[in-house]
């Protein structure tokens, strides 16, 4: 691990990414972090935009449908994140 790089900085500052993480990986990490945070906030504040019964969609009141739709969106996001990560690993020649 690249210990020298850590030494140069303030030794006790917050470390979000492991030393040696590439800028591309950092960007990707931040992107998914932001998207998932938005999904969590949307789920917590769903009543701001979907606090109604009509239209009844997929047999559920609109509020319940929104909660379910957000769950599906979350699943898709997680799957995309997993997919990009494992694809990277196999490109590197299967990093363990």
């Amino acid at each position: 691990m690249n210990m020298n790089k850590v030494r140069e900085d303030d030794d006790y500052s917050i470390v979000i990414f492991k030393p040696g993480t590439s800028p591309g990986e950092k960007r990707k990490g931040l992107f998914f972090f932001t998207v998932l945070t938005i999904i969590i906030l949307a789920q917590a504040f769903y009543w701001l935009f979907a606090n109604s019964v009509e239209p009844i969609t997929w047999g559920m009141p609109f509020g319940m449908f929104t909660v379910v739709a957000l769950i599906l969106l979350e699943f898709a996001t997680l799957a995309a994140m997993y997919w990009t990560e494992t694809r990277e690993d196999s490109n590197k020649g299967g990093a363990k």
Binding site: M1, M3, V6, D11, Y12, S13, I14, V15, I16, K18, P19, L36, I39, I40, Q43, A44, F45, Y46, W47, N51, S52, V53, E54, I56, G59, M60, P61, G63, M64, V67, V68, L70, I71, L72, E74, F75, L78, A79, M81, Y82, E85, T86
Partner: protein, 485 residues
């Protein structure tokens, strides 16, 4: 006579679970790592159900329909947080697993105690966890006792029903450790999900000709029931903060956190997180059952809202075998949570409370024995609390839900903030826990409907940061071992 058939179905279910549990752990060696973490060998399917079974408790199966019936839209919150709960684990899970491999940890408190060089921290975490567990498991016991009561038409009293289910659980956990918990959860999970879908759709279609009609009728009769906010059963702030606290705190539950040590690889861990939201969709039909009950029975006739699921099929002229299957599924929900928590509580008690208080390190064999004894002991104590627990005790334990989320700052500090010190994390955690209890015990009033756990969490972070800066930083090399994971 029909109750005997129903009861037989339930007993057959119990025998199957017991057999799966006993076989699962057979032929494995008797070590702490095997007993608690299955020597990091669990694959995706098993881990998925292990995590799923733990959360789909009696609360989801009996309480979920009860909420839909009595509180309406507030019940959507259960789905939302179940789906999101595991997301923060993407951050902690792999790091905890790496720490486990590096330092041979099998519990959450060991990780904190290692990073902050404090046995006291381990003891505090263990006490907070075990208090929370007792509350959690008492609920499950009431659930299983309830199932037996209905199945036998009141012939099996509360104390006996709770005992039967729990003896089976303690039995297979004692022998099989985490493997028994995992494999029984696979069976129980599949069983629960299937029953829920069949039942939820059946009620919606047979009583209303489909869910759309059902909800139209409900909205006509009770216009605010399917909404949150003023006039509904749950306010805006209450809904949002309850969801946020639950999502942040979910992976802090020690019995879930420590499962990071059981995964075969990081890929397995992450795949479990990806698929976990699908488990929450299983709550859709469960809530349907509760909604279907609204036009069928008056709340005053029903008594407690948790009785809605049993009431529904008791009045549908189902065959005794079908009733037995549904009740067995409810029992599966309760038991699949009981086993995970009993296993975790025994492990934590022995590893994080007894071990640090002993002078010399226990040998592997005697440590495993200690865990087994703790499993039985914890089982007995929580059983006694369920049977004899008074009102004061119950309200004390209620505060434990808000206490668990107080482990979040110390977790984040462990992995991301080298400057955090032992005094900082202990001070922060104690502040958060105490503040949360003061609100729960009504010493200080609740602020604007904000969840007490969230209020405690904010103070907790403040204290952690301030005290850490006021105290001497910890050894640089030591903390980098954890931050660089």
């Amino acid at each position: 006579m029909s109750w005997m058939i129903t009861l037989s179905v339930i007993f057959i279910y119990l025998i199957i679970v017991f057999c799966i549990g006993s076989i699962a752990g057979r032929g494995r060696k008797s070590s702490v790592n095997e007993y608690i973490a299955a020597e990091s060998s669990l694959g995706f399917v098993v881990l998925y159900f292990l995590m799923g079974g733990a959360i789909f408790s009696a609360f989801a199966y009996l309480g979920g329909p009860g909420w839909a019936y009595s509180k309406g839209a507030a019940s959507f919150f259960i789905m939302g947080y179940c789906a999101l709960g595991l997301v923060p684990w993407w951050i902690w899970g792999p790091r905890a697993a790496r720490a486990g491999k590096k330092f041979n940890y099998v519990t959450q408190a060991q990780l904190f105690a290692g990073r902050f060089q404090s046995k006291g921290l381990s003891v505090i975490v263990a006490i907070v966890s075990i208090l929370a567990f007792i509350q959690y498991i008492t609920l499950q016991m009431k659930g299983s006792a309830y199932v037996f009561e209905i199945a036998s038409g009141g012939r099996i009293p509360f104390w006996a029903g709770a005992a039967i289910a729990y003896i089976v659980v303690v039995g297979y956990v004692f022998f099989g450790g985490v493997r028994a918990v995992a494999w029984t959860n696979v069976f129980q999970g599949i069983f629960m999900v299937t029953t829920a879908w069949v039942l939820g759709l059946y009620f919606a279609f047979s009583l209303y000709g489909g869910p759309t009609n059902m909800f139209t009728e409900i909205a006509e009769k009770m216009p605010t029931h399917l909404l949150v906010g003023p006039g509904a059963k749950m306010g805006y702030v209450e809904y949002s903060t309850a969801l946020l606290v639950s999502v942040l705190g979910f992976t802090m539950w020690p019995h879930l956190f420590m499962k990071a040590y059981t995964a075969e690889s990081e890929k397995v861990l992450k795949r479990t997180i990806v698929w976990y939201p699908t488990f929450a969709l299983f709550l859709v039909p469960v809530l349907f059952i509760g909604f279907a009950g609204i036009m069928q029975v008056d709340p005053e006739v029903l008594g407690a809202p948790d009785r809605i699921l049993p009431w529904m099929f008791a009045n549908m002229n189902f065959s005794p075998v079908a009733i037995g299957l549904v009740l067995a599924a409810a029992l599966a929900a309760a038991m699949s949570t009981q086993d995970t928590i009993t296993h975790a509580a025994g492990s934590i008690f022995a590893q994080d409370l007894i071990q640090p208080l002993k002078k010399e390190k226990l040998s592997d064999a005697s440590a495993t024995l200690w865990i087994r004894i703790s499993v039985v002991g914890f089982g007995l104590i929580s059983y006694l609390v369920a049977i004899f627990g008074g009102q004061t005790l119950v309200s004390l334990l209620l505060g434990s839900y808000g206490s668990i989320v107080q482990l979040l700052p110390v977790t984040a500090a462990t992995f991301f903030w080298p400057r955090a010190t032992k005094a900082g994390v202990i001070g922060g955690m104690l502040t958060g826990v105490v503040f949360n209890y003061l609100i729960v015990l009504k010493v200080i009033p609740k602020f604007a409907g904000v969840h007490p756990g969230l209020q405690g969490l904010i103070l907790n972070i403040l204290v952690l940061v301030v005290v850490s800066y006021l105290t001497k930083p910890m050894d640089r090399k030591h903390v980098q071992e954890y931050v660089g994971l």
